[in-house]
Every structure is written in structure tokens, then in C-alpha cells.
């Protein structure tokens, strides 16, 4: 196969589908109770050096509690998929848990501005970076979900994004057109936050899926954090609503407000004050250390983090905001 062009970036995850198949062959298929606390799930399934991917979209339906726990447990040398990684990236950068990064969108928090912490970590030279785009990473997950080594798409050609990626340009044998091959991305472990899951891991969520369906398929190990556990018969009564089937899931952790301070659609809006506080405090090393102690290291769990940041009253306010109740006058 003639390679017309290729990126010089490093491929941080092996796209070989047969190696992935060997892993999936050994994966448990039984519908068993997988409920555990988040601490144990992170201990058991997230290891130093693993390649990690995070569901949701930056600060939307993002498993923030899991990101805190990863930092609290001090994971290091991980690979990370920066697939519109905003507040999740900010947390993981604070812990310097990764040293290999696939970039689509990083260091920014969209309209909110940039994270000084994420930014200086990436400017430090401590992180090996390969460039992609949001859709490129989606396509890489799709290739893994399909159990193939790559899928062809039609972006990034002609840019430095290709040059610093690990993609390859070839010619389509049907049309003679150039396509760029996105190598399959099989993360070692991923975490997805959902509205509802049963004890086996059958999961439902509302709102946009972002890339989570392909991510759930692509990842070797999957931790689900859920706002609520539900009875299994709430799954089986309408299996059309299942977004992630139990067979993909290794652990189910019930974490109410698990996406806070991000948005959980139909549940609570993002806490913009707290997100601003994060970005502001990052500018002062000492203050940031103190802030991280208060909000992550000295918190036993996410319940305590919520309690320290306004507790039930704040959650009710964010719910009202999410539901746009201020418009109902």
C-alpha cells in the first residue's frame, strides 16, 4: 500500500485488532453484579502507564469524580486521549498523571478561557504530544469499535495537524481519491458517566452521546459512574434505551453529582463560579496546592467534595439553572 504522506507523531496505543481480540476473548461475559465504590474501581482497573480515555465532552457528562480519584491515588505515566478534554484535563494535569497525550482539544475550557495548569504542564516538555482532531479521535475509536486497524476519513490532509499526527495518507483503490487512515485507538481503560445503570452495567443516558458509544466498545476496560443505580427490570422493559450494554462494563460506581462542577444534562448545570475559581487559583502555585488539598486530596470521596462546595443547596440551584426555571416566569 503506497503511503503518500504520513505524520511523524508517536502512536501511543497499538492498533492491532488481533491483540485486542485476545484481550476481549478473556473478558468476562457474565451478567454479574459489578457495583463497587469508586476508590476500589480506580485501584483495580486504572494502572500506572495505562492509556486512559474519559467520556463526555470536557465539562459535560464528564466523570469528574473519577478524575479526582485518579489524581488522589497518584497515578503516573499514563497515556491520555485529549478528545475535547477541558475540565477533566485540568484535573488530570494538576496531578501530572499522564506523560503521553493525543491532542484534539486541550488546555482550553471553551468559552471560559484557558487552564494555566494544563497549559504550563504541556509547555514544560514533560509530555509527549501527538496531534489529532476531535473527529479524528472519534474515527480512531470507531476503528477500534469495529475491530479493524484503521478507518479512512477525509480531514487533516494538507496541514501540520497531519504532520504531527501518526496518520497516513493513501489512495482509495475505488476512486483514486486520497484518504487519511486513522489508526484504531483501543484505550486500556475508560470511564463514562451516565444517568442510570443497573448493577450489571447496562447504562442509560440522556442528551448527546458525543463519542461514548464507540468509546465504550473500543476500550479494553470500562468503569461506569452513574448518578443513580436502577433495577435491572428498568433496563429490560425498554432495551431500546440501553446505550451501553453490561458486557462492555467492568465496574459500576454510584456517584451522585459525579459530573459536578460540569453539566449533567437534565440534572444540573455547570458551576461556573467554581470552574472560574479553578482557573484563577491555578495562577498561584501555593494557592493551587491548597485548593487541590481542599478539593481533592483531603476529600474522602465525591460526597465530601460536593459538601465542601455548597452541598444540597448548591445542587438545587444548579438543577434549577439546568432546567431553565429562571425562564419560567
Amino acid at each position: 500500500m503506497d503511503i503518500i504522506d504520513q505524520g511523524q507523531g508517536t502512536l501511543f496505543a497499538d492498533p492491532d485488532p488481533d491483540k485486542a481480540r485476545e484481550f476481549f476473548r478473556a473478558k468476562n461475559r457474565k451478567m454479574e453484579n459489578k457495583v463497587m465504590n469508586l476508590k476500589d474501581a480506580i485501584t483495580k482497573y486504572v494502572h500506572d502507564g495505562d492509556y486512559l480515555a474519559i467520556g463526555g465532552f470536557g465539562a459535560n457528562r464528564t466523570p469528574v469524580a473519577a478524575c479526582h480519584e485518579i489524581v488522589r491515588q497518584g497515578r503516573k505515566n499514563m497515556g491520555f486521549a485529549g478528545h475535547t478534554a477541558t475540565h477533566d484535563m485540568e484535573i488530570l494535569s494538576a496531578g501530572e498523571i499522564y506523560n503521553r497525550l493525543d491532542v484534539a482539544y486541550v488546555v482550553g475550557l471553551e468559552a471560559r478561557g484557558l487552564s494555566p495548569c494544563s497549559r504550563s504542564y504541556l509547555e514544560s516538555g514533560k509530555v509527549k504530544v501527538t496531534e489529532w482532531t476531535n473527529y479524528s479521535l472519534t474515527a480512531r475509536l470507531k476503528a477500534a469499535a469495529m475491530g479493524v486497524p484503521y478507518v479512512p476519513i477525509r480531514n487533516i490532509m494538507g496541514t501540520d495537524t497531519l504532520k504531527y499526527s501518526a496518520a497516513k495518507t493513501t489512495k482509495c483503490p475505488y476512486t483514486g481519491k486520497k484518504v487519511v487512515l486513522m489508526p484504531a485507538l483501543y484505550p486500556d481503560v475508560s470511564i463514562i458517566h451516565v444517568h442510570e445503570a443497573d448493577v450489571f452495567g447496562n447504562s442509560k443516558f440522556r442528551g448527546i452521546a458525543v463519542s461514548d458509544l464507540d468509546l465504550a466498545n473500543a476500550t479494553r476496560r470500562l468503569i461506569i459512574t452513574t448518578e443513580r443505580l436502577i433495577r435491572h427490570d428498568e433496563i429490560t422493559i425498554n432495551p431500546s434505551l440501553t446505550r451501553i450494554p453490561y458486557i462492555l462494563v467492568d465496574a459500576v460506581c454510584e456517584v451522585p453529582f459525579g459530573a459536578y462542577p460540569g453539566t449533567m444534562p437534565y440534572e444540573y448545570f455547570s458551576d461556573e463560579d467554581h470552574l472560574r475559581e479553578w482557573m484563577a487559583v491555578e495562577k498561584d502555585h501555593e494557592k493551587f496546592k491548597e485548593f487541590l488539598s481542599r478539593n481533592i486530596f483531603d476529600c474522602k470521596d465525591h460526597d465530601e467534595y460536593i459538601a465542601r462546595n455548597g452541598g444540597p443547596k448548591k445542587m438545587r440551584e444548579l438543577r434549577a439553572k439546568e432546567l431553565l426555571l429562571h425562564k419560567e416566569v
Binding site: 485488532p17 476481549f24 457474565k30 469495529m146 475491530g147 429490560t236 432495551p239 440501553t242 453490561y246
Partner: protein, 256 residues
């Protein structure tokens, strides 16, 4: 001695091959009956997956189509064909049962045409459907089929679905996922596997009432025989009871 029919025999033998906690991609008919029987006997945690998207249903009765509403009744998920086939392609599905009009010594199957002119066949059959997909992707492919010379042929009229291809290493070299391939062939007369080096079909057990000669005489190619060939364990009382009373009470499959 318990009475049983040949189709009951094959279903019971097939069911035993499915270990607890495995995944199986099934079609309608005997494969589905075997999987349901396994769930109700030795493999309560067997996970049934249908190609059109039904994942882990509680089958209330025998489906007529692999896409009918029974295939996702009380399921874990009513997904898509992509969901099922991608799961197979990623290696999440252990077993599949297939059939066909013809099978050769390497377990390749024909369900496309009888005759030699593809554009104007003597007999047009349904084609691959999901058979080639399941046989390409699932780790272990099994076949439940009556044993006769017109089915077990030296040369297929059309190789629809991959078995061990030309035997030896040819399957691994073909590009199909490594380590997958035909596993057991279950007929009314015997159970066959494949000799590990040549990948040729090999008799490993013979059903009550038949001899190796019967098996060979009803096969259009030379069969290998295992050194420790045994008699197939016939259907047991409890297997037959569950098959007849719970799995297929309306005799959709066992009444054929």
C-alpha cells in the same frame, strides 16, 4: 431407554458444547434451541446475541426471524446489526452455529448457489446473510446438520462462508482474524472436530445406532478419526424434558 429423534439428539449434543458464561451468536431453528437448552441446563449464564441487534434477551419463545421482537424481549440492549457485528469483530463472541447446503472437509460452507453459473444458478440459495460474518469473527464456529453425501462434499459449488479454507495455515494467512475457525460439526450420526495440523474434519464421537462406516458412507470426502473416538453421550432424560417442555413446546424446531 429414552426415545428421542435425531434433531433432538443434535440439539442436546450441541447444547453441551456451550460452556457457562460464554457468548453465542445464533440464528433461528436448531442453533437457537441448542442455546436455549444450554441456558436451562449447564450454562445458565450463556449470553445469546442476534445479528440484527438483540443482545442477551430472555427468549419467551422460539424466534421466527433473527430480527423479530422475541430476539430483544427483555434484552440487555436492543442494538443494531453494527453493534452485534462489531462485537463479534472485536472478539467478544465465542461461539456461533451455522448451517448450509454443502460443507467440505475443512468446514467451509455453501449457502449461495447450487450449480456453476453464478449469474444463472441451478438453485439460488439465500447467500451468506450473517453466516460469513459470524464464521469470520466468532472464535469457534459450529455446524448442526444432517449427515449425507450431498451435503458433505469434496468440493463446494460456492464457498460462501469460511471454515479452515484449504486447511493447514491457510486461514491464518487469509487475513481473517487470528485464532478463530470451525470447532465442532454435529450431525445425526457423529460429532466431528478438526485435526489441528491439517485442519481436516475428524470424527471424535459416534452417535448411538451408527458406526464409523455409516458416517464415512454418508460423507463425500475421507474423514479422519480421532485416536480416542468414543460413543456420543445420548440425550439425557432431563435434557429432553426441558427441550420438549420449556424450550420448544410448540415443536417449531423439534417437530420438523
Amino acid at each position: 431407554m429414552t426415545e428421542y429423534t435425531e434433531i433432538e439428539m443434535m440439539i442436546c449434543v450441541a447444547a453441551r458444547e456451550l460452556e457457562n458464561g460464554a457468548t453465542v451468536g445464533v440464528g433461528t431453528g436448531a442453533p437457537c434451541a441448542a442455546s436455549m437448552l444450554a441456558q436451562k441446563t449447564s450454562a445458565p449464564d450463556l449470553v445469546i446475541i442476534f445479528e440484527a441487534g438483540g443482545i442477551c434477551p430472555e427468549l419467551p419463545e422460539m424466534p421466527i426471524s433473527v430480527g423479530d421482537s422475541r430476539t430483544f424481549y427483555k434484552a440487555a440492549m436492543a442494538g443494531s446489526m453494527g453493534d452485534t457485528m462489531e462485537a463479534c469483530s472485536r472478539g467478544l463472541v465465542d461461539y456461533t452455529f451455522l448451517g448450509g447446503a454443502q460443507i467440505d472437509m475443512y468446514g467451509n460452507l455453501n449457502s449461495t448457489i447450487i450449480g456453476t453459473d453464478h449469474q444463472k444458478p441451478k438453485v439460488r440459495l439465500p447467500g451468506s446473510g450473517g453466516a460469513n460474518d459470524f464464521a469470520s469473527f466468532c472464535w469457534r464456529m459450529m455446524v448442526i446438520t444432517p449427515q449425507d453425501k450431498r451435503r458433505f462434499v469434496e468440493k463446494l459449488d460456492f464457498r460462501t462462508t469460511p471454515g479452515w479454507l484449504e486447511g493447514g495455515n491457510s486461514r491464518d494467512e487469509s487475513g481473517l482474524p487470528l485464532g478463530s475457525g470451525p470447532y465442532k460439526i454435529i450431525t445425526n450420526m457423529a460429532v466431528m472436530d478438526f485435526e489441528p495440523e491439517t485442519k481436516r474434519m475428524r470424527v471424535i464421537s459416534i452417535n448411538q445406532g451408527y458406526s464409523l462406516t455409516d458416517v464415512q458412507e454418508n460423507c463425500g470426502f475421507e474423514l479422519l478419526t480421532a485416536s480416542n473416538m468414543v460413543e456420543t453421550l445420548p440425550p439425557q432424560e432431563n435434557e429432553l424434558h426441558i427441550l420438549r417442555e420449556e424450550v420448544d413446546p410448540y415443536r417449531y424446531v423439534i417437530g420438523r
